[in-house]
């Protein structure tokens, strides 16, 4: 291959890479994601993943630190440590949710959340519903400030397409898809290709069934059909990254219905992944664009948050 051909190929690859990983997305989508995900972190640590504080009371004999905690030399949870961590986590999440200090508060929140979750998982029970949210917290600070109001200082205006915002959004989308696709891979790795023909749902229902599960469990064939549906949908999930418009909306609705189903049947909510599905939605439309009434000559435009959206 001649030098110039190789050069052209390299340029083409770089372009495709840029299109795939850093599409220009209105910065407003990141502003809305921050306004949803950081408050969700508050909700999560207070209500959903709330065992790190009780873990502070558990004797170290039962503490089995993850590689991440051993690598970073994080100490074993104690009553004081977990309470300080909780305060740092809540404060940083609230500041970041308000769109203030997006890089600093966002970075502190991401680090504190990793400490929090690795604490939650260091007693031999590891959940897999937080990976997309962890990725979101890691990438959101890289976007920097987004301006959602006219005349409120620095930052990328919400309506301006930004590749930095696009990279962050894309990372969250890919992390959500990984959660599904890799779950299918894990089923084949640990359960074999006949996982879907097995009795995993019967197993789950007999351990944490609800009223509805009794009726469903009476039909083992239906359970096997559901297991196949899950496996096939998870393997096909990477297609979501290529969809647009109605097809994308339909795919996202399918996953929402799936999570609602597992919640109704098994009380497994997977909310940390569910909120990250928002990265697929045109959230920037919540930040309404309008002409500035005054003070912005030359046809410049200002934006303000729509009711309920924005900051």
């Amino acid at each position: 291959m001649s030098g110039s051909a190789a050069q052209a190929a390299a340029v083409a690859v770089a372009r495709a890479w840029r299109r795939g990983w850093a599409p220009a997305v209105p910065a407003g989508r990141v502003a809305v994601l921050r306004a949803v995900l950081y408050p969700f972190v508050v909700l999560d640590v207070l209500l959903l993943t709330d065992d790190p504080v009780p873990h502070g009371d558990v004797p170290v004999q039962l503490y089995r630190p993850l590689a991440l905690r051993r690598l970073l030399h994080l100490p074993a949870p104690s009553p004081g440590y977990v309470r300080v961590l909780l305060v740092v986590l809540l404060l940083s999440a609230v500041v970041a949710a308000c769109g203030r200090l997006p890089r600093l508060a966002g970075a502190v929140c991401a680090a504190a959340y990793l400490d929090w979750l690795s604490n939650a998982y260091s007693y031999t029970k590891v959940d897999h519903d937080h990976v997309a949210l962890v990725v979101a917290l890691l990438v959101l600070p890289t976007v920097g400030a987004v301006r959602v109001r006219p005349g409120s200082g620095r930052g990328t205006p919400a309506r301006v397409p930004s590749e930095a915002a696009g990279w962050a959004v894309r990372c969250v989308q890919v992390a959500v898809v990984c959660t599904y696709f890799l779950a299918a891979c894990a089923k084949v790795r640990f359960g074999g290709w006949d996982w879907a023909d097995g009795a995993v749902l019967t197993w789950a229902f007999s351990r944490r069934g609800t009223a509805l599960t009794g009726a469903v469990a009476a039909v083992p064939l239906l359970l096997v059909a559901l297991q196949w549906l899950v496996l096939v949908a998870e393997f096909l999930s990477p297609l979501v990254l290529r969809l647009r418009g109605r097809a994308l909306a339909a795919a996202v609705l399918f996953w929402l219905a799936f999570h609602l189903g597992t919640f109704v049947m098994l009380r497994i909510h997977f909310l940390p992944t569910v909120v990250c599905l928002l990265a697929f939605a045109p959230l920037e439309r919540l930040v309404r664009v309008r002409s500035a009434r005054a003070g912005s000559g030359g046809g410049a435009l200002a934006v303000e948050p729509a009711a309920g959206g924005g900051r």
Binding site: W21, A22, P23, A24, A27, D51, P54, H55, G56, D57, V58, P59, Q61, L62, R64, L66, A67, L68, L117, Y121, T124, K125, H128, V135, R159, V160, P161, E163, A164, G166, W167, R170, C171, V174, C178, L182, A183, C185, A186, K187, R189, F190, G191, G192, W195, G198, A199, V200, T202, W203, A204, S206, A217, P220, R244, I268, A281, P282, E284, V289
Partner: protein, 173 residues
């Protein structure tokens, strides 16, 4: 849907990333993706966040058994109670006891840690003097539960029930 909706105004020029900014972002995304994939294909829970996405990933035979562990204990008042395997009860949940079931079986003295955690979280409640780790076993046939049994896995008598693992001082109930 990473293209914006049709704006009501003339589109602004996109803010592009420089070569270096794009390069480190691309490299970071790629490394994370590789670690995540390797975690599921080869790794274990220990590597979280690069751990296998293995919830409900194991095979359950339609004719095998489903095991569900629980712990019960005799209090210093002589009454038999369920030890609450919840974050609120003893700081660890049932799944976290289940995850180290083999350790409890090998070393039943670990059960005293549950008594200590319970005493720390509920100083006013009756303490446990003797604990038993048991399993409720449901036998499946053709995917249906046909029989339920109960197995004893480990038991431990706390040497000083008022101060499990020397915990909590004071005048315990």
């Amino acid at each position: 849907m990473h293209t914006p909706g049709e704006p009501a105004v003339a589109p602004a020029a996109p803010r592009r990333l420089g070569a270096a900014a794009l390069l480190w972002r691309g490299a970071a995304a790629l490394v994370f993706l590789l670690l995540l994939t390797a975690g599921t294909l080869r790794g274990s829970d220990d590597g979280w966040p690069f751990a296998p996405m293995s919830q409900y990933a194991f095979a359950v035979d339609l004719d095998e058994e489903v095991r569900s562990p629980y712990v019960q204990g005799t209090g210093t008042d002589g009454a038999l109670r369920r030890v609450p395997l919840t974050a609120g009860g003893v700081g660890v949940e049932r799944a976290e006891v289940e995850g180290q079931l083999a350790r409890f079986v090998r070393d039943p003295a670990l059960l005293e840690a549950l008594a200590a955690a319970h005493a720390r979280r509920h100083p006013a409640r009756v303490r446990f003097a003797q604990l038993e780790l048991r399993e409720r076993v449901s036998d499946l046939s053709g995917g249906r539960v046909v029989r339920v049994r109960d197995d004893l896995l480990a038991s431990w008598t706390v040497p000083d029930p008022r101060h499990p693992l020397g915990c909590c001082g004071g005048s315990a109930p």
